[in-house]
């Protein structure tokens, strides 16, 4: 720290607006072209890329769903054979859960959290770049395997012994297990970034009780990821070891246990549902408050509901295992705790309704999706309470009733809010509005198509149609309803089609959005749409929970950050008082090289255990390149 640096900073105070922004752009800009794309560490570019990739996986997973429905439309159809069908439902489930739902929620966090807490970039931006590349590699691995007809065929949960060495021949199950490692690595990295961004990079004055609810939701979700994902990584790695080097974790003949797999899997798999659901809850809170035009009713209860849902999520995994024969006491406990989770859910719904009661709701497209969410989620919640009871679950467990239930929860609980969130934040991300007319159309088709597709599945399930079957006999009384379901799936798909058309059209030629088109209250709306590469020319100083509403025509800001370095403010954990200035890393190719080295090692290790030894050498080299200080101003104070 030298004296003349102080002088340089002094001069920043007198910079006029244009000059300040010009200098900040020079410092923060991502270079144009391929090189810029490969080296960028801007959370907005990476977040957008992450969101788009996840939606591409939604489309791919959706096409597989349509393929399944085509096959099931009639009894004894010949469209897809049993082997391919096993691959397809595995690919559908794995793609939707690991390549779409979790990543898209995290990606929304990557884009929005730094803007909403008023900082210039996410914490550990290079790790952020790395996490995207690793995610992409995992997705490509799975889908290239599918194209080569070596996709996993063991379900998205890959139960042993079917996925173990005795029954799962070839490399199918290994590919599944390694895809898990890729996506969990990337999910964990993003979780760490979000936790640290929220803990340490909040705008001065944004104390814990002023954090926007979406940010709270992402924070709690990140902790869930940190606690739950190691279990699935442990499970998938043990599975690979069993298959490759002959360990016996899941082999009962040598002291292992197949139920161990289920415990590890569902210890992750149940919280996974909340990892998908909690960010959606945060999105709903943002949208409800904005379109009701008033602060949320019950901020504290909403935060407590988020936290208690997360805590309860860990007590519940066994409810996926009622039919495997566990001790009676355990079952009652897990039934009770499964039903307890209805309490925080009820609190949230009550708070949203109370907010709306008092406000003057505007029925714009984002808000329509929120209504769709509340309706479907309540139905999914009710069937959830039903399957939480052991006798009922025993009846319907492997039937279409469960397929209906979890699509109500997943699509109702996560995809509806997500689509609403895209309509809501699209103007911020692109600078253009999406079309209200097309939006209403898309919503109507998706909502109606969804209920027509999935509601009859409850009935099919009660009539005894098992899930994961590639066909059924004409003697069974299921044909008519299956045809109806398959036709409705097309209605649903056409709704999505309109949504994507609207996205593509609006990104180019939608009406200009302006900084705050919805008149919302949180900080991401305090900067231009789309935000400049440095997010905020001057970092906001927060004095209220809804800063843009409490002082509608004035933004209080901080000054004194240098413009010639990527500086941002680090603030204290509880009160968010400014503590230090930190320089945020510059663009770098090393995260990509590290991701490539990691990819080589992980794929190679499907075939040889030595890959772990030799493959880690290039990783070590790439990581040293990543962390070695370069000749840049940040490194000389």
């Amino acid at each position: 720290m030298t004296g003349d640096a102080g002088l340089a900073e002094q001069r920043i105070f007198d910079l006029d607006e244009g000059e300040l922004e010009r200098r900040l752009s020079e410092t923060w800009e991502t270079p144009r072209g391929i090189w810029g794309a490969l080296t960028t560490v801007d959370h907005k570019i990476i977040g957008r890329r992450y969101i788009i990739t996840a939606f591409v996986f939604l489309i791919l997973g959706g096409l597989l769903a349509l393929a399944m429905r085509l096959q099931l439309a009639q009894p004894e159809a010949r469209f897809i054979g049993p082997d391919r069908y096993n691959q397809i439902f595995t690919m559908h489930g794995s793609t939707m859960m690991f390549l779409f739902a979790v990543p898209v929620m995290e990606a929304m966090g990557v884009y929005l959290v730094p803007l909403m807490v008023g900082t210039r970039n996410i914490a550990f931006p290079r790790l952020n770049a790395f996490s995207y590349w690793i995610f992409l590699a995992g997705g490509l691995l799975l889908w290239i395997a599918f194209a080569l007809d070596t996709a996993p065929d063991v379900g998205w949960f890959a139960y042993v012994p079917l996925s173990g060495p005795q029954f799962g021949a070839g490399k199918r199950a290994d590919i599944w297990a390694q895809m898990i490692t890729f996506t969990e690595l990337s999910a964990l990295a993003v979780a760490v970034e979000i936790v640290v961004t929220v803990f340490k990079q909040r705008a001065p004055g944004m104390s814990l009780d002023r954090i926007p609810l979406f940010v709270w939701a992402m924070l709690v979700t990140s902790f869930l990821i940190i606690m739950a994902m190691p279990a699935i990584m442990f499970a998938s790695s043990s599975l690979i070891l069993d298959r490759l080097v002959g360990t016996h974790f899941f082999n009962p003949a040598e002291g292992g246990d197949v139920l161990l797999w289920q415990h590890l899997f569902w210890f992750f798999g149940h919280p996974e549902v909340y990892i998908i659901f909690l960010p959606a809850v945060g999105m709903v809170s943002s949208i409800v408050s904005t379109f009701a035009r008033r602060p949320l009713f019950g901020y504290l209860p909403l935060v407590m509901a988020l936290i208690s849902t997360a805590v309860l999520a860990f007590g519940l995994w066994v409810h996926h295992m009622f039919v495997v024969g566990l001790p009676q006491v355990g079952e009652s406990f897990f039934t009770a705790s499964s039903m307890t989770i209805a309490i925080p859910a009820g609190v949230q719904i009550f708070c949203w309704l109370a907010t709306l009661w008092d406000g003057r709701p505007q029925f714009k497209t984002p808000f329509l999706f929120v209504i769709g969410f509340i309706v479907t989620f309540v139905i999914g919640g009710l069937t959830g309470v039903m399957v939480a009871s052991v006798p009922f679950d025993t009846q319907v467990h492997d039937t279409y009733f469960v397929v209906a239930h979890f699509h109500y929860v997943l699509i109702g609980g996560a995809v509806f809010p997500l689509l609403g969130a895209i309509y809501y934040w699209f103007p911020k991300m692109t600078g253009h509005m999406m079309s209200e007319t097309l939006g209403r159309f898309a919503f109507a088709l998706i909502f109606i198509g969804f209920n027509m597709t999935f509601f009859p599945m409850h009935i099919l399930g009660l009539e005894g149609m098992p899930r994961r079957i590639y066909t059924y006999q004409p003697e069974m009384p299921w044909a008519g309803m299956n045809l109806f379901v398959s036709a409705s799936a097309l209605v649903l798909a056409s709704g999505f089609f309109i949504f994507f058309v609207d996205v593509l059209r609006s990104a180019r030629s939608g009406a200009p959005a302006g900084a705050n088109p919805w008149g919302a209250s949180t900080l991401e709306w305090a900067t231009s749409s789309p935000p400049a590469c440095f997010n905020f020319a001057r970092i906001p100083v927060v004095a209220a929970r809804d800063p843009l509403w409490s002082e509608p025509d004035e933004l209080t800001v901080a000054t004194g950050l240098r413009t010639d370095r990527r500086e941002l403010i680090v603030s204290s954990l509880v009160e968010a008082q400014a503590e230090a200035r930190e320089s945020s890393p510059r663009n770098s190719i090393w995260p990509l090289l590290s991701a490539i080295a990691t990819t080589i090692m992980l794929i190679w290790s499907i075939f040889s255990p030595w890959a772990v030894v030799w493959g880690s050498i290039p990783i070590a080299i790439a990581l040293i390149g990543w962390f070695w200080p370069k000749q840049v101003p940040e490194d000389e104070s």
Partner: protein, 200 residues
């Protein structure tokens, strides 16, 4: 929107140390993740034990010496590690250099004992589930020693380069020392599981 300046941050320090540093929190979060990993390994160990008729399965309890020597060595390494961490906070370059060299040596020595630990297990990873979990536990912990060692070696080189005298680097040394404490602390329950639980 109009902007009104209410705060000047130009006098704030560059790169806070400890809780004022994002990397410190990042290190903590990674410790939480890896701690969950170790916790799971231990849970799986006890789960498999609860299923087995005899424990260890078809093998004697592992020999005590190498593991115990390693434990003593790791515990002893805490002292120079804490000293190093303090010197880093004081930004005392000469002592930090000495400390890093000492910690590099203390990172290599345990690996020698670790090699012997694998030989006294008296069971292979592919003999049975007991063998599988103890090999994985030892392997998991060895990876942590190795990664921290590489980290320390790179940091040592860095502190002898012209990049050394910089608050950022001292922060790195501080965080690296924190991580080593974690590697040591995580070993204690693993040690008890692997060596003493079979003797109960």
């Amino acid at each position: 929107m109009k902007e009104r300046v209410t705060l000047d941050v130009s006098k704030l320090p560059l790169h806070g140390m400890g809780t004022a540093s994002p990397t410190w929190w990042g290190t903590l979060a990674f410790m939480l993740i890896e701690g969950s990993g170790f916790g799971l390994a231990i849970a799986v160990y006890f789960y498999l034990m609860s299923l087995a008729k005899t424990w260890p399965i078809d093998a004697p309890a592992p020999g005590l010496w190498p593991g115990t020597c390693l434990t003593v060595l790791l515990l002893a390494s805490i002292v120079p590690n804490l000293v190093l961490s303090r010197r880093a906070r004081q930004q005392d370059l000469r002592r930090v250099r000495i400390g890093l060299i000492v910690m590099s040596i203390l990172g290599v020595l345990p690996l020698i004992f670790r090699a012997f630990e694998f030989t006294v297990l008296a069971v292979r990873w592919d003999d049975n589930a007991y063998g599988s979990i103890v090999w994985v536990m030892l392997g998991l912990h060895t990876t942590h020693i190795v990664t921290d060692l590489i980290d320390t070696l790179v940091l040592t080189c860095l502190m002898f380069s012209r990049h050394a005298d910089n608050p950022r680097r001292y922060g790195d040394v501080h965080d690296n020392a924190l991580y080593w404490n974690f590697v040591v602390a995580a070993w204690i329950p693993l040690y008890l599981c692997i060596y003493w639980v079979p003797r109960l």
